[in-house]
């Protein structure tokens, strides 16, 4: 043990001394008044340094805070849309548009009674005709979109 070594005493107070060196130092301290006195001085310094010290925010911080919030919010808004330039709900609306269009061609439950009266035994065939017409229309629409419009929804 290097008597009075301030680096060792500092590391000891920091709790950074390895266990074997700590034991050695504590043994030394029990018999060395100079080191005990130095340790007491350093403890006082540690006590002073450990006191919380807050700097109060200057008045101009209010203006800077406003600038920070405004800039950060603007930056976030600019980054918000995805790479296609569409927001989440807009892209969902486009993705499901064709399916909602298909449902418009299907007869509602209120229409089924009239269809039965009008078509009689031909009803299953009528449904098949309706389904075929719907599929043909959707297929044409899909081909048009693929030629000119943005990619939205894959038919397959």
């Amino acid at each position: 043990m290097n008597c009075g070594n301030p680096e060792v005493l500092q590391a000891y107070l920091d709790g950074e001394l390895p266990a074997d060196e700590r034991g050695e130092l504590e043994g030394h301290l029990s018999g060395c008044l100079t080191c005990r006195r130095e340790l007491a001085h350093l403890k006082l310094l540690w006590l002073e340094l450990g006191q919380e010290r807050e700097f109060s925010l200057p008045p101009e911080w209010a203006y800077l805070r406003q600038q920070i919030v405004a800039k950060s919010a603007a930056d976030r808004s600019a980054k918000a849309p995805d790479q296609t330039g569409l927001g989440f709900w807009e892209s969902q609306r486009l993705a499901w548009q064709d399916l909602s269009l298909a449902t418009a061609y299907l007869p509602g439950s209120a229409e089924i009674g009239n269809l039965v009266k009008a078509a009689g035994r031909r009803l299953p065939g009528l449904f098949l005709d309706l389904a075929g017409t719907t599929l043909r229309r959707l297929s044409r629409r899909h081909q048009t979109d693929r030629k000119g419009g943005p990619a939205r929804w894959s038919w397959r």
């Binding site: 009075g4 070594n5 301030p6 680096e7 005493l9 500092q10 590391a11 920091d14 709790g15 950074e16 130095e38 001085h41 350093l42 006082l44 310094l45 540690w46 002073e48 340094l49 450990g50 006191q51 919380e52 010290r53 807050e54 700097f55 109060s56 925010l57 200057p58 101009e60 911080w61 800077l64 805070r65 600038q67 920070i68 919030v69 405004a70 800039k71 950060s72 919010a73 930056d75 976030r76 980054k79």
Partner: protein, 191 residues
């Protein structure tokens, strides 16, 4: 309620919630004093501290999208603040990052007895001595004593070698110990 929200909730609100400006303001209100204090301890001037605090917050909000919300917020905030301060110190005092060129802390002014009488309050005296320390010494001292970081944590967050951290800490505290020795009339040792 958002006003009582913890860091996790506030960060989530900032990242993806509606009314983001409110969440930004609440996160700022919670930590702006902490960030400013850390910046002020690292610099000599209040104007620099303001600029550094502003720069820190802009980086924090810009980086929030990549921040994992399940991780603690304050250590991440502290790391950004320290990086901003270190970048500033590298620009303002490029010489201080070399141990060889590291200036010795300025000696306390004890020549005038009247000054000594005027500075009877030890805490205030010590604060003045801390402010006289080279900026990097002051920053590392702050990380050790105010932030209670270990040597390794300081080395990790600053990117300095462990030996450099220990040397800076030792030199800074040796200087402050001399200040206290002058104030209390202790025998001035080589430490």
């Amino acid at each position: 309620m958002l006003l009582e929200a913890d860091d996790h909730e506030l960060v989530l609100q900032c990242k993806e919630g509606d009314g983001r400006e409110d969440a930004f303001r609440l996160l700022l209100a919670k930590y702006e004093g902490y960030v400013y204090s850390l910046c002020h301890r690292s610099t000599d001037r209040r104007e620099d501290a303001l600029e550094l605090a502003q720069d820190t917050w802009l980086r924090v909000f810009a980086g929030l999208s990549g921040f994992q919300v399940n991780r603690p917020f304050k250590p991440w905030l502290r790391k950004i603040t320290i990086n901003v301060c270190l970048n500033f110190l590298r620009r303002a005092h490029p010489e201080i990052l070399s141990l060889e060129n590291c200036p010795a802390p300025a000696a306390p002014e004890w020549d005038d007895p009247a000054t000594l009488v005027q500075w009877t309050e030890t805490s205030r005296l010590l604060r003045e001595a801390v402010e006289r320390l080279p900026p990097l010494h002051r920053l590392i001292l702050t990380l050790r004593h105010a932030e209670e970081m270990t040597y390794e944590q300081i080395a990790d967050v600053t990117g300095f070698p462990l030996s450099m951290v220990k040397t800076y800490l030792f030199r800074a505290r040796r200087s402050l110990r001399r200040t206290l020795a002058g104030a209390y009339g202790w025998e001035v040792t080589n430490g």
